[in-house]
Symmetry: D2
Subunit: 367 residues, 4 copies
Amino acid sequence: MAGSTYGTIFQITTWGESHGEAIGVVVDGCPAGVPIEASDIQFYLDKRKPGQSKYSTPRKEADCVEILSGIFEGKTTGTPISMLVHNKTQRSSDYSEIASYYRPGHADYTYDKKYGFRDYRGGGRSSGRETIGRVAAGAIAVKILKELGIEVLSYTKSIGNVEIDYNRFDVNSIETNPVRMPDAEAAKKATLLLDEKRKELDSVGGVIECVIKGIPAGIGEPVFEKLDANLGKAMMSIGAVKAFEVGSGIHSSQSFGSENNDQFYYNEANQVRKKTNNAGGILGGISDGDTIVVRAYFKPTPSIFSSQDTVNKSGENISVQIKGRHDPIIVPRAVVVTEAMASLTVLDLLLLSMTNRLDKIRDFFHR
Amino acid sequence: MAGSTYGTIFQITTWGESHGEAIGVVVDGCPAGVPIEASDIQFYLDKRKPGQSKYSTPRKEADCVEILSGIFEGKTTGTPISMLVHNKTQRSSDYSEIASYYRPGHADYTYDKKYGFRDYRGGGRSSGRETIGRVAAGAIAVKILKELGIEVLSYTKSIGNVEIDYNRFDVNSIETNPVRMPDAEAAKKATLLLDEKRKELDSVGGVIECVIKGIPAGIGEPVFEKLDANLGKAMMSIGAVKAFEVGSGIHSSQSFGSENNDQFYYNEANQVRKKTNNAGGILGGISDGDTIVVRAYFKPTPSIFSSQDTVNKSGENISVQIKGRHDPIIVPRAVVVTEAMASLTVLDLLLLSMTNRLDKIRDFFHR
Amino acid sequence: MAGSTYGTIFQITTWGESHGEAIGVVVDGCPAGVPIEASDIQFYLDKRKPGQSKYSTPRKEADCVEILSGIFEGKTTGTPISMLVHNKTQRSSDYSEIASYYRPGHADYTYDKKYGFRDYRGGGRSSGRETIGRVAAGAIAVKILKELGIEVLSYTKSIGNVEIDYNRFDVNSIETNPVRMPDAEAAKKATLLLDEKRKELDSVGGVIECVIKGIPAGIGEPVFEKLDANLGKAMMSIGAVKAFEVGSGIHSSQSFGSENNDQFYYNEANQVRKKTNNAGGILGGISDGDTIVVRAYFKPTPSIFSSQDTVNKSGENISVQIKGRHDPIIVPRAVVVTEAMASLTVLDLLLLSMTNRLDKIRDFFHR
Amino acid sequence: MAGSTYGTIFQITTWGESHGEAIGVVVDGCPAGVPIEASDIQFYLDKRKPGQSKYSTPRKEADCVEILSGIFEGKTTGTPISMLVHNKTQRSSDYSEIASYYRPGHADYTYDKKYGFRDYRGGGRSSGRETIGRVAAGAIAVKILKELGIEVLSYTKSIGNVEIDYNRFDVNSIETNPVRMPDAEAAKKATLLLDEKRKELDSVGGVIECVIKGIPAGIGEPVFEKLDANLGKAMMSIGAVKAFEVGSGIHSSQSFGSENNDQFYYNEANQVRKKTNNAGGILGGISDGDTIVVRAYFKPTPSIFSSQDTVNKSGENISVQIKGRHDPIIVPRAVVVTEAMASLTVLDLLLLSMTNRLDKIRDFFHR
């Protein structure tokens, strides 16, 4: 129950602070025989790393992954995979000041109350750099899911009030614009909004949509370990995520059963299909074989450069202007983090589902 | 990881199907010395039980709790508390028909795919009756939280498009109207909507808001065991919940940092307070001492009496009209379920937080 | 981590006190499709129940199992199986006296120190009746293991200083003598010893050996979840077990590598075999395909009828003579408990092992 | 359930192979405010490191610990502590040969069967070097326990048939002889035995005794999470441990209740004490306030240099002579490993016990 471990069978443990020596993850319970090279991991870390565009922090970190265990002759051995990234450009001096006060919207105050003191260098453990471990581990989960025909795709659905238009949806454009929107026109509008807000020393929120294709029906456990409950926890565990929905989610609360129920039919190949997908691919907490659709709602980056009121530890009400290197928007860099969390969650429940039926267990051991 | 267990220290395991012998729960890890009588449990079960109004299923179940272990001389002993409710009026005959087809919006199809067959009597384990165990266990958590000065309160925020007005917020009206809205006027409108939709053989969705007061700052663990991540999982695990938010949640994704950040100040008693509560009482996944505010979005009851298209197991596309006893709206009876889940979650993390600091641990053992 | 839950995938939660209403267990994570009738469970409970011979407590309990959930049309559904046994002949009056003092060798004192008070009726939760839940759950595990070709067999290896002779080993005699020894001659000697000690108002300890046949190589996880570590915990969790060994165990600590190493060879069917089995079927914590052999060492029943010194709660040193209904030896009735714990442990690790290799996972999902 | 994680509240995850880049551990759930320097960790690693005497492997490894996270300004922050040791002198060439065959007494065969292939460099994950992570984490647990007045002490009780004499017990001599026996005379005999066996290219087993002083009564959870069950698992999880006992353990199985029961009395300070300690400080799985005494039985090192029969992967029965750098006895270097495992286990259950009583919880939060 220690907070930095996630998963039951495919289990990851992350560690590290934004301005410590390094940040890393241990992946345990990874099946043996998965071909993994450092470049498989680096590909995803590069999507997360800072300095990708003018909309992300100017902190320059190569975020080069080192793999220290669990891989032998290019394949996972079944034993723990330890990976880490050294922090190279930590400039703690930026933070000497914030040691004395609590930044609004940050976890400074709550860490102090919880632990009696805090590592005040750039947020310490509550920094977004913590997600490096998730992304590195997620890269392995993605690879395994692909082997099983399952694809996880995330993209920016909206930034501020700029939303993508599904009629212009183009998966190829996701990586060709700095905001990772699958709609070039919306992306343009979003960058204009960001330019404006950056000038105002302000920041912007947004929504990431994550779709999972190819997942068989039957994944997720009844009652407390529902697939959507776990995806919800996975997404809500990402700093700055303040809401989560599956399928028609929020809208469904204002709709009627006759509209919201997805009616079943047999397609030409005699497979059970749904006419609509308000369920977002999950019924009773269990995958129904349809595309899974979830969304994570991100608040605006709390670090803004305009003046804010707050308190210091000497008991004074003060005004501050935060320094340092911060993103005016978190969303584009968080896209790969949601992919990682979705992949870790789905893989773990997929592995668990192997034990659901006696007939399949018997086949497994008696082949 | 079996799906029917929840919590790490204060841990519950629920069991039972809607039309089986009984439904129950085992609570393990409950501190010794909590005064508990059956009536403490029954009080909450009565809020959940069917037949409370014309907007809930006409199935008549007294849902009388029996306590079988873990209480001695009126107090918890520290060992497992087993509680159950016998199903009295299961009329499985209602369900003989649905064995052959999949009800839209229900888990019939996914259970069949997962397990190879299903208990088709009224949803079996996926029935809302499953929540009896949660509510019984939650009643104990509520009692402990009260002893610690923490209060959990849920109510209906909206039904369909009818929303409460906070200017008319009246906590006393929650239990005086059948929809559990803390606004008598909105409640009236909501019942009119329900009357209309019932006549149309349709059903309606809604939103439950849950507030937690008196929780100290410092509860919730970094990274994966954040308080909001756990509350999100808790709420999303309730059947029919399709979205979850904390504080200004969804709205924050369209706002700017300058608006959304809650600025700190010292109040007259020299305590750190926030000028606003967009955070919903949680910063970096850890309680900040402010009121915690979360919301669960419920889809409309999938069981509607109008005709729907679906498939049967013989490979045919068919039309069905579902029979049985169903709620045209789930929300009012689910209010107490959200209270239970919030209480269980907060209590578990509260107990865990006792181990956060060496100085406090030393005090604990050396007093 | 609450203490009454065991297992990760096949997970059981037991509850109940010796003199409460009932004693039971919830089995969650049981694969769907296992044919189970009450008689399958009762068969094992009957081996555990009191009053089987003059060497077990004269308390008369039928210990009839009721199954309340998780079985539909004769098969497990994949959802929690709730089972219980009502206590019928609890005579708490026997225990009114022991409320005031601590019985030597019992958990009276430690429960009081832990919880501030205790359910003093017959040991409460620390009573041997707690194992009813284990045995009921174990009966299901045994059934599944049999389907997979795995057999778990326990028997009494020694009582006091009377040990079986493997040259006379006869599996059929286990159930034909009251001490469950697979050697009729040793059994006779053991009963004479018990008769003598019973007259002296004393009690006797003993050793149970448990062998597991047909388990494939590869079960058990490296480092902390080794098969032998888990079997050790399983056995040590049985009240009165004070030591545990696997294979040549204790003896191996006095032997040399040249003697203790089991050398490998190919048998005629070209299968890898070991010339000896000092390892007890486990190498590096992982099953090697050979018979698993473990032993649990039981202390003598602490409830003896002769006079003992102890303390009461009024601060006095006193002498007591315990009343009530007690076994002069625990071992014969505990044989089935060790079978249950071994079966639960092996099944859980067996299910977990299904996720060890990518090639097998791919086969599983792509067939 | 992934095998390399241990503990519930104070939770460790170890990683690394004997001949990989590095070996390490992540400690999560460590209370904030524990003063820790690298030298605190190094002190214990030095007791474990190779090359301490002629009775341990001549592999020269400094085993210098690096702390990468979780410590700020000399104290633990409450977030994960990542520690590692780089492997410096891995000479994989030593092992190119063993890739083709299975060493008797080692886990080569079982890893191959489990995972389809193995990291054959020196045992990979099954190597004794895996315990570096345990010892590093254990050093932190030891430090916290000391702050709480609890001391854990391990020493060699016997090597082969040479046993210590308690009349000559001298705690100061443990670190002054190469076999870590608290009896100089026995130590001398033991080294003679080792010299002899080393010349014969053979290896020897032994027993480690571990005593825990100052632990309050009430630690350990009923039924499955008993203190002795957890200590049993902890010890059995150490490679080469084949048996475990608590208190009079094995002997108690041959004794009678009248001898084995520890009678209670009030001492002069009016405290409850036991006249004897056959229980080894644990009654009903819960600490009784007395010294806890447990023992771990180690088999002889499986790596011996004399010729042995085994099989190769080409299907042939062969004879082999193992090369490499191996200990003729594991026990002296494992002493600190048992201390680490005992400390981790006791600390975790101690922290958990803080949640046992409502009155103490109320005090904790209301002070």
